[in-house]
């Protein structure tokens, strides 16, 4: 599930102080009732997201204009099957609709829009019966009526309206008319009819009430969706289905590497050209260096990823829009159950291959709060695209391009191993966290609806990809840009005078030597040396240390940092400079810095460490507090250090 909303928000009465005082509508309904599509259509993707106070439940609030009747607030409540809460999500719905005002955490809405899926009315009406006990004005929004008629079902809507006693508006996704009607109806919410006698509350009586309502509305059950059925007999076939699934995964991964490559090359070329333009036209030395290294280098290193990430978001949005992801979750459920998770967690972890941020947000599709948390704690261990440049750089330092491991290209094998063990570690971490949170709530029974296959609406898919990609861009660019700029400053200050350098034996006419001296004695270097005790057992020196510290903001910065340091020593051949670097002082002086054990340690360190402030921010938002991101950061740092040391020792013994 791709992130669909812009980010902001603090918990509390209203999500945004600007919304206080406006009329509030809550959209309520079961999952798969078209609720979120309706919410998006009404609020137009400008919704604010946040968390309900103190819980791992996402909150969405937006506004919509009702013609001349002004602006109102619309809140998308978590999908719920019943007002008998068995999960924090459903407890939220109960709390929000608490007209007895026993909860003070969130505002009670002024009216409700209840989405009912016309193809699953028998079940959906049970929820409506419960909602009608709250006494709040209700308008039923009937969805999927096109699906109903396509599958041979029938419903007499005026009779249905009379039987329910509340206004009923039909809305078909993608058609504007229904929305206009709905807005007209919303404008008059204080004159909505209510049932003259509320439906019964006893479950057996409610079932009978539902039967009566559907009977007098001439409801004819839609036939089995034969199209879906036929597709599923192939897609979920034990042999064919597994093959199709593996093929889909293969295509997915090929996209990460192969398909995006030409696009990435063009972006790189563009930035190379831009760097050249700056060098030619900006003659102020430090400004030129600043622009080309910090700004263009920094921004460029992020933008190079956009084609890849956008493509991945696109694939995921398409798979989800067709309904295939539910099938993938179904096929993978048994495997995920080994880690104490469920099939839908697979989808969240899959998204994390692009970037942990959408992966963590995809955990919203998991009904169990415990599952959500466990998956969130494991997701950052999945090999995300940001690790790729680091892996590529290090692996190329480690192995020549033609090295072979048996039949296979040695570099390829190492990359595969990194991805594989990343995924394995993610599952293991999730399993551990699932066990650790055993006391925090009842075990939710597993159930998953299999929605019918649909042709994904291109506009929706495009909108999802755009929102996800732009959110990623905005967040990451600001952090990476800020970090590379700060880093550049720290690497190039304090400025050294000629006399001082001459006294240290540096040839002041040699630009490279000057640059190297400045970096060696910069603020950044002091910080790098200060943390040496921590990283020395892993074989890292102060240069790698600065790289790691800066990569805590975002992993890509590591490559940019090493690039700056190497380019200072050898502007023509920075890669060569890296190969030739030696440890400068201390007990290991003289050793090649990037030797096999150190590279192995570095690779493993990057595999496990949580080095992405954006991920920390998303963890904070999705889990509702700082506790969990702090735990994630600490455990991953400790794990990274330990595993890196292990790698160094093992490789050191082998080599």
């Amino acid at each position: 599930m791709s992130p669909q909303h812009d980010h902001c928000g603090a918990g509390g009465g209203a999500l945004s102080t600007a919304n206080v005082g406006l009329t509030r509508f809550a959209v309520v309904g079961s999952p798969n009732s078209g609720k979120t599509t309706l919410f998006n259509a009404l609020t137009g993707l400008h919704a604010k997201t946040g968390n309900y106070p103190g819980v791992t439940v996402a909150r969405y609030e937006g506004r919509t204009r009702l013609g001349e009747h002004g602006t109102v607030v619309v809140e998308d409540l978590p999908g719920t099957y019943s007002l008998d809460p068995i999960s924090p999500d459903e407890q939220i719905v109960v709390d929000v609709l608490d007209t007895d005002h026993q909860n003070t955490r969130v505002d009670v809405p002024d009216a409700m829009l209840v989405t009912l899926n016309a193809t699953t009315l028998r079940r959906s009406l049970g929820l409506l019966a419960q909602l009608q006990q709250t006494g709040l004005p209700i308008c039923v929004v009937l969805t999927f009526t096109d699906d109903l008629s396509r599958r041979g079902g029938r419903l007499d809507i005026p009779a249905f309206t009379r039987a329910l006693g509340v206004p009923v508006v039909t809305v078909v996704a993608g058609h504007r008319d229904g929305l206009a009607d709905l807005r007209h109806v919303m404008a008059r919410f204080d004159s909505w009819t209510s049932p003259v006698v509320p439906p019964p509350t006893d479950p057996a009586e409610v079932s009978a009430w539902v039967d009566s309502v559907l009977e007098s509305s001439g409801y004819r059950l839609p036939a089995v969706d034969t199209r879906t059925h036929r597709i599923d007999s192939v897609v979920l076939h034990p042999v064919l289905g597994t093959a199709i699934f593996l093929l889909t995964m293969f295509v997915f991964f090929q996209t990460i590497f192969t398909v995006a490559a030409p696009l990435q090359d063009s972006v790189e070329t563009f930035f190379g050209w831009l760097g050249g333009v700056v060098a030619d036209h900006v003659h102020i030395g430090w400004l030129s260096a600043f622009l080309s290294q910090a700004v263009i280098g920094g921004v460029g290193s992020v933008l190079v990823f956009v084609p890849q990430i956008a493509l991945l978001f696109l694939l995921i949005a398409l798979l989800e829009g067709t309904g295939y992801l539910a099938r993938a979750a179904f096929l993978m459920d048994r495997v995920m159950a080994r880690a104490g998770l469920e099939g839908r967690a697979f989808v969240a972890l899959l998204s994390s291959f692009a970037c942990a941020i959408p992966g963590i947000m995809a955990t919203r599709s998991l009904p169990s709060a415990r599952d959500r948390l466990a998956t969130m704690m494991g997701a950052p261990l999945m090999t995300c695209s940001a690790r790729l440049p680091v892996y590529i750089l290090l692996v190329s330092l480690l192995l020549p391009s033609d090295a072979r491991f048996g039949l296979f290209n040695a570099r390829g094998v190492v990359m595969f191993a990194l991805y594989f063990f990343g995924a394995l570690s993610a599952m293991a971490a999730a399993a551990v966290f699932k066990k650790l949170t055993a006391r925090s709530g009842p075990m939710l029974p597993f159930y998953m609806e299999m929605p019918p296959y649909q042709v994904p609406r291109l506009k929706t898919v495009a909108a999802e990809v755009w929102t996800a990609a732009s959110a990623f861009l905005r967040k990451v660019t600001s952090i990476i840009l800020a970090t590379t700029m700060v880093l550049w400053v720290l690497l190039n200050l304090p400025l050294r005078g000629e006399a001082e350098m001459a006294a240290a034996g540096v040839d002041t006419t040699d630009d490279a030597a000057v640059a190297a001296y400045v970096i060696d004695h910069s603020y950044a270097a002091s910080v790098g040396r200060a943390v040496e005790p921590v990283f020395e057992p892993l074989g890292f020196d102060w240069r790698i240390n600065i790289g790691i510290l800066s990569s805590l903001a975002a992993r890509e910065v590591f490559v940019a940092t090493l690039g700056q340091v190497a380019a200072a020593e050898n502007p023509e051949e920075p890669a060569q400079a890296l190969r030739e670097m030696t440890v400068q002082d201390g007990p290991q002086a003289g050793r090649t810095l990037f030797d096999a054990p150190t590279i192995a340690a570095l690779l493993v360190f990057f595999m496990y460490a949580l080095q992405c402030m954006s991920t920390v921010a998303v963890l904070r938002r999705e889990s509702g507090s700082w506790k969990w991101p702090a735990i994630a950061f600490s455990y991953m740092f400790a794990l990274a250090w330990a595993m890196a040391w292990l790698a160094k020792t093992v490789v050191g013994a082998l080599v």
């Binding site: 009819t193 049932p195 003259v196 006698v197 509320p198 019964p200 009566s212 009977e215 007098s216």
Partner: protein, 182 residues
């Protein structure tokens, strides 16, 4: 479990049309009902009950409201319907037909007529027949006959399977339930 649900009656806040399983009770005026429902009649909370083929009209007394007694009536009615043989219903075909026709003319059929500039009214005669008159723009409308025929009759027949057409004109229809009066 017997399924019932309540529908509002336009223009009459003391009345509720309870949709019940079709054919369960006879058609006519309720004289006696079993259980707590009967008690509510006895106590005067419910004043009248009129049974159609697939629904039961109940009127609550002028001093009370459905907000106060709705839930109680709902459970009492459900319980009472478990014993249809204990109900006593006096045949009142004319009254029931008049009530159903009025309901339709207040609702969907009447809306259609009025949207075209016409008017419709129903009259209960002493012989138990109901005469429906179309007026206004309908008087000169070539489709008036069709309107009466398809819309009104069609809807009426669905709700009153015993419907009998006694007489028909261009803008006038006379109907009865059950056997036509002599």
């Amino acid at each position: 479990m017997i399924g019932i649900h309540a529908e509002r009656v336009a223009g009459d806040p003391q009345a509720v049309r309870w949709v019940i399983p079709a054919g369960l009770l006879g058609v006519g005026r309720v004289r006696r009902a079993p259980g707590p429902l009967g008690a509510m009649f006895d106590a005067g909370t419910l004043t009248t009950g009129l049974a159609e083929h697939g629904a039961l009209w109940l009127w609550v007394s002028a001093g009370s409201s459905w907000a106060a007694h709705g839930r109680a009536v709902q459970s009492a009615l459900r319980a009472a319907l478990e014993h249809p043989e204990q109900w006593v219903i006096d045949p009142a075909p004319g009254e029931v037909l008049a009530r159903v026709t009025a309901d339709l003319l207040d609702g969907s059929v009447g809306d259609f007529v009025r949207s075209h500039g016409g008017s419709a009214r129903a009259e209960l005669s002493d012989d138990g027949t109901v005469a429906v008159h179309l007026g206004g723009a309908c008087e000169h409308c070539p489709a008036a006959d069709l309107t009466l025929q398809q819309r009104l009759l069609g809807e009426l027949r669905r709700r009153c399977p015993d419907l009998v057409e006694v007489d028909r004109g261009a803008t006038r229809l006379t109907l009865a339930l059950g056997a036509a009066p002599d």
